[in-house]
């Protein structure tokens, strides 16, 4: 499984709403592997990656949130200047656009980890793997 499932949660931009999401997940003993928030003045979309995304979805919906899923890929990027650039150049070269991406800090050896949403996920996985880019498999991604 090359692609990871990302949850998107609609949130009003109000005090307490984000912590309610976290509360619903912690009550279900679910650990967030990565998250990012896209927001406007009034509302936002919280994107979450967790191993038990199905349970997480259920827990959030039971708590009254509206949840969607999207495919993303995760990969390791050499943690040095130009590390990300080399990956993005390969995506550019095959005509893939990054819709958004987010990096997170847990360092695994020499690499940093990023999550990317491409405009064409199916093609991204097929084409970029053939150019030598390694995506993180779910099992590796969630490994502590």
């Amino acid at each position: 499984m090359m692609k990871l499932t990302q949850l998107s949660v609609f949130l009003e931009n109000r005090p307490g709403h984000l912590s309610n999401v976290c509360g619903a997940l912690s009550a279900a003993h679910l650990n967030i592997a990565a998250l990012t928030m896209a927001d406007t003045r009034e509302f936002g979309i919280l994107r979450l990656i967790l191993r038990e995304w199905k349970q997480a979805r259920e827990a959030l919906e039971a708590a009254g949130f509206v949840v969607n899923t999207t495919d993303v890929v995760a990969l390791e990027v050499p943690d040095r200047p130009g590390g990300l650039e080399s990956i993005l150049k390969q995506a550019d070269a095959v005509g893939l656009s990054v819709e958004y991406m987010y990096a997170f800090a847990i360092k695994q050896g020499e690499n940093a980890r990023i999550v990317i949403r491409f405009d064409d996920m199916q093609r991204a996985v097929e084409v970029l793997e053939s150019t030598g880019i390694t995506f993180l498999r779910a099992a590796d991604f969630y490994k502590q």
Partner: protein
């Protein structure tokens, strides 16, 4: 009582018996006219086995069929006109209950009649030749702007056709042009008061003395506020496009109810549930029959405005009976900044963009004296993905669809599921937070 110098206003003081005789004569003529020229009316009369000659007394009006807003929609645009189009010199339109507006027409006589009625309104409130009138009712399809304009010109006042909006310019004009009287919606005037004060101006330095406010319901509390804060005299005016526009009834110097121009409009108060005519003094739905209008006559039009007839003679000397200030309606129509809005129109606009039926709420509030309307919409799974831009596009499309339908810019706020209150399982569609005092 100061002598009236305007011949139009003499009809305000007709002897009651004379007035009733005039009404009956005109009622019989208009029924005959509608029977001959308006197919829908004729069919309904025939269904009841009635002919125009059956109207022998004013009480017989109660036998005639009602006209409703839905009839205006069903016969859009010209189906209820009683003259050929070549005699129609003006069209106006107002909101219908769905996407289509209601179209009304005027012959040259109708425009003349309307002008004379607006003149009588101005005279009743003390406006005269030499006054400078800032007409801040909207010009356009809305009847307010042009209706007041023609009446003021006929009176001989100086009209400033500034139309609505652009508060900064309104204040500049009010100050620089020596404005003595103003027409607008009451909520807009409350907003103007605040802006005048914020600009460091004082009403005592301005020449404004009289305000004529209408196109939306307002209250004695608002009058007290307006008069105290601005030092002007504030008068209520009543009208509706389906009947004429502004100039159907107006307050006089007594500020104790609105005189109905009974020589032109036959009024009844009916129980909105049973349709039975109610006696003077009882609150019910105002039903109006136009007595001489040509292009768009209305027989027993259901206004949905709730009021009562005040039968006592007014201290001003006018013999025209008064109605109480209109406070509420017998349907769900909302009036926002003078614009008529039905919740069903907003729902139709939302549905034109969305695939599933929306959970929404219309929220009315008042900020800085101005009515604010917004729509809160619960986000569902089908409405968004992982990107903010999808939701922003949806917001824009919804707001655009609403503006196309009702002509008002309405912000759409996206909210989480289950945040809109449901009462007994049914969503509460309208939350009115406007101060009713």
């Amino acid at each position: 009582m100061a002598p009236e110098i305007y011949p139009e206003s003499t009809a305000d003081y007709l002897d009651p018996d004379q007035l009733r005789a005039l009404q009956l004569q005109r009622l019989r003529a208009i029924v005959e006219r509608c029977f001959t020229r308006v197919a829908v009316f004729r069919q309904r009369m025939q269904q009841r086995g009635m002919v125009p000659a059956d109207v022998r007394s004013l009480d017989d009006v109660a036998q005639l069929p009602f006209m409703r807003k839905t009839d205006l929609r069903d016969h859009y645009p010209y189906g209820l006109f009683a003259v050929p189009m070549k005699e129609v010199v003006r069209l106006h339109a107002s909101s219908g209950t769905t996407g289509k507006p209601i179209v009304v027409g005027y012959t040259r006589y109708d425009i003349d009649l309307w002008s004379s009625l607006m003149l009588r309104c101005f005279v009743a409130t003390g406006i005269q030749t030499g006054d400078v009138l800032q007409n801040a009712f909207g010009y356009g399809l809305f009847t307010g702007g042009l209706g007041a304009h023609y009446g003021a010109e006929r009176l001989g006042a100086t009209v400033i056709p500034i139309s609505g909006g652009n508060t900064r310019r309104q204040i500049m004009v009010m100050k620089d042009f020596g404005v003595t009287a103003i027409c607008c919606t009451p909520s807009y005037f409350v907003h103007l008061i605040e802006q005048v004060h914020e600009n460091g101006l004082r009403f005592a330095e301005l020449g404004l003395k009289i305000g004529i406010f209408g196109a939306e319901p307002w209250t004695e509390g608002m009058r007290t506020h307006i008069q105290r804060e601005s030092g002007i005299r504030a008068y209520d005016i009543y009208g509706l496009s389906e009947i004429l526009g502004p100039g159907v009834a107006v307050e006089c110097s007594q500020q104790a109810g609105l005189h109905m121009f009974e020589d032109q409009f036959l009024m009844e108060i009916v129980d909105p549930q049973t349709d039975q005519v109610l006696p003077d003094g009882q609150v019910g739905e105002l039903v109006i029959t136009t007595l001489t209008k040509q292009a768009f006559p209305m027989i027993r039009y259901r206004t949905h405005d709730l009021t009562a007839v005040i039968p006592e003679r007014c201290a001003c000397g006018r013999t025209l009976r008064r109605i109480r200030r209109i406070q509420s309606r017998s349907d769900d129509m909302l009036i926002i900044r003078g614009v008529n809005v039905f919740p069903s129109q907003i729902e139709a606009a939302l549905l034109s963009v969305m695939t599933s039926s929306p959970h929404y709420q219309i929220v009315l509030s008042r900020q800085g004296g101005l009515d604010q309307i917004s729509v809160e919409l619960e986000v569902t799974e089908g409405m968004f993905g992982d990107r903010i831009s999808q939701l922003e596009v949806l917001q824009t499309r919804l707001a655009h669809a609403i503006e196309q339908t009702i002509g008002l810019r309405v912000p759409v706020r996206l909210v989480e599921p289950h945040t809109i209150a449901r009462s007994e399982g049914k969503a509460v569609r309208v939350i009115d937070q406007r101060d009713k005092k």
